[in-house]
């Protein structure tokens, strides 16, 4: 196995996630799509940690960091989402548009 297939997989997964994050209306699905993009990045990190001239475990460590940060992000994101839902009775991205002029 070579490096490219893994990177290609990462790119495709990232693209799918980006598409979801940009088109889905449900905030939870958007959040899920973001997690997919993080996963795509992780694939790259781990792939580079395995292949390359001097394989090093640092890539895996960073993937672990990203996993932990993703978990934190989901926790906070869902907290915000619940508060938002309670306030607006909606989980639609379109309704979260107070941050404009």
């Amino acid at each position: 196995m070579a490096l490219q297939p893994f990177l290609a997989l990462g790119a495709i997964l990232f693209a799918i996630g980006a598409y979801g994050a940009l088109t889905k209306r449900n905030l939870i699905i958007v959040l899920i799509s973001l997690e997919m993009m993080l996963n795509a990045a992780n694939i790259n990190l781990v792939a580079f940690s395995h292949f390359g001239k001097t394989p090093h475990v640092a890539g895996q460590v960073f993937a672990l960091f990203i996993i932990a940060l993703g978990a934190a992000e989901v926790a906070v994101g869902l907290g915000i989402l619940l508060a938002f839902f309670r306030m607006r009775n909606s989980a639609d991205v379109k309704d979260a548009s107070a941050m404009k002029w």
Partner: protein, 174 residues
């Protein structure tokens, strides 16, 4: 031989997992029922975990299953259930034009990425299945507690803050 690659267990597993990931991802984008999406999501996460294990990163793979497939998916399901309003289908899609535009952008992006990947000479990879001299758990532990001690501790701080913060944010106003 398969696309110029030897047909080993690794190759086959990779293509199966890639198929699982991409199929689940596409399903996630196309399905309308949120619970179905959750299943597709689990598929993506498990597939990624499989890729990790395939790459010899068994600890990261397990963490991926534990955190993403186990915890985050369930959390998402909970959130979906909590925010449902009678109908269990997802709220209407963005406008078709918008979706097509996004699709175009995404396809262009991916296309360029793939072209670049193809055109770049990567520092060549050795073919050994397991490039590490020690179990990855040991390597990761040493790395975490020597090289990355400060980031590791900061991470625990972030997790604590996220825990407390999400509780505070989501708590009902009394």
């Amino acid at each position: 031989m398969f696309f110029g690659m030897p047909l080993t267990g690794q190759t086959v597993s990779f293509f199966l997992l890639a198929l699982l990931i991409i199929a689940s991802g596409v399903m996630l984008m196309t399905l309308t029922k949120v619970m179905h999406m959750a299943v597709a999501l689990a598929g993506v996460f498990l597939g990624v975990a499989g890729i990790f294990i395939l790459l010899g990163a068994d600890f990261v793979g397990m963490a991926q299953i534990l955190v993403y497939a186990g915890a985050i998916t369930i959390l998402m399901v909970f959130a979906l259930m909590l925010t449902q309003k009678g109908d269990d289908t997802e709220s209407p899609e963005a406008s078709t034009g918008r979706s097509l535009l996004t699709l175009l952008g995404v396809v262009v992006f991916t296309g360029i990425m793939l072209l670049v990947l193809r055109g770049t000479t990567w520092p060549y990879s050795q073919s050994a299945v397991d490039p590490y001299t020690q179990p990855t758990v040991v390597l990761i532990a040493q790395s975490l507690y020597h090289t990355y001690t400060i980031p590791f501790e900061l991470l625990s701080l972030i997790l604590t803050a996220a825990l407390v913060g999400s509780v505070v944010i989501a708590r009902k106003e009394d």
